[in-house]
């Protein structure tokens, strides 16, 4: 029966995804745990960071040995970049390394909040779009910022639900709803996810996907949380597509109010 419940793929540039969960590869205890968590999560697009080669341990195993590129698309990020130039340089290094046009752009403001710097984010987005990248932009949940980014030609806007790694979930669902009304490109909730209900909420609002990392990697049992996040993403997506009932102040009986036996039902004082 569930085969009847068709859904559109999530299209990001040249990439088509049936899973709407995007999963990061940071902070796991081992490459083996990373590999298992990715598999259980059902993700098809995994994020990675770009860093200097450790020349003292250059012959050791690489993350690339544990991410099957037949199975996963790779989304390199510019995490750790606090200015336009280094973010753009990092994106270009990533493109050469991976042969992908996709990039998750982060231009950060400060290391305490890890909130995006809006001006730098706009400028770097423009440069990367002009250079042919498919830019997925980490941004704040400011609806006008999302519109400006869309106008520059980015592939996806990715507002933070709350600060990166904070586990606070979606702090301003109304801002996400407004962004979803104002832009046409896929809106992916990125950052702040603490548990499965955060994923479900974002998807129920109509987000095209959710990107998370710490919520799985930092859980007491990462593999079980990977399963929870997978299920929440599907549940929230189906709830969104199904269309929830409106919220009402008063009850609305689901059993017939007619045909009750004698003396059942509300008496004169109980009738509203």
């Amino acid at each position: 029966m569930t085969a009847l419940l068709k859904d559109e793929p999530l299209v990001l540039g040249d990439v088509r995804l049936s899973s709407r969960l995007l999963v990061g590869t940071g902070k796991y205890a081992s490459f083996e745990e990373t590999e298992q968590a990715l598999e259980i999560s059902g993700t098809e697009l995994v994020t990675v960071a770009i860093r200097r080669v450790n020349l003292d341990a250059s012959a050791g195993p690489s993350l690339l040995d544990h991410v099957d590129r037949e199975r996963y698309h790779i989304l390199p990020n510019t995490a750790g970049c606090y200015d336009v130039e280094s973010a753009v340089r990092t994106a270009k290094l990533a493109r050469d390394l991976l042969g992908t046009k996709l990039v998750k752009l982060e231009v950060l403001g400060d290391p305490k909040t890890l909130l995006p710097d809006p001006i730098g984010t706009l400028e770097a987005s423009k440069q990367l779009v002009d250079d042919g990248f498919d830019v997925l932009v980490y941004c704040s949940d400011d609806p006008r910022m999302a519109v400006r980014l869309e106008e520059l030609g980015v592939t996806s806007v990715m507002p933070a639900g709350s600060p990166i790694g904070s586990g606070q979930g979606v702090l301003n669902p109304n801002a996400i709803r407004i962004i979803l009304e104002l832009v046409r490109v896929p809106v992916i909730l990125d950052a702040g996810v603490g548990t499965a209900s955060d994923v479900a909420l974002a998807m129920e609002l109509g987000a095209a996907g959710v990107l998370l990392n710490s919520g799985i990697a930092g859980a007491r049992e990462p593999l079980r949380m990977a399963a929870a996040m997978r299920d929440a993403c599907t549940a929230g997506r189906n709830a969104y597509l199904a269309g929830r009932i409106p919220r009402r102040l008063y009850a609305n009986a689901s059993s017939p109010e007619e045909g009750l036996i004698e003396e059942a039902g509300p008496g004169p004082t109980e009738r509203g």
């Binding site: 200097r52 993350l63 290094l93 390394l97």
Partner: protein, 69 residues
């Protein structure tokens, strides 16, 4: 032509055999497909590594993938 050149690799000064970027990657024992290279802030694309010669004082960045969100 000097036998060695003094360059900076990932912020550390180092003396390496003179040659191309591709030679440097090999000299350091890195897997070529798992690194990307900048020289003096310019990306040296994969196809250009053989023909790009390192000069005294060059600043080289060698990067790879690590786990991240």
């Amino acid at each position: 032509m000097p036998v060695n050149v003094r360059i900076t690799i990932n912020g550390e000064t180092s003396e390496v055999p003179a040659g191309s970027v591709a030679d440097l990657v090999e000299h350091l024992g890195l897997r070529p497909e798992q690194v990307a290279v900048e020289v003096n802030k310019d990306l040296i694309v994969r196809d250009a590594r053989e023909r790009t010669t390192l000069a005294e004082g060059d600043r080289v960045e060698l990067v790879t993938l690590v786990g991240g969100g």
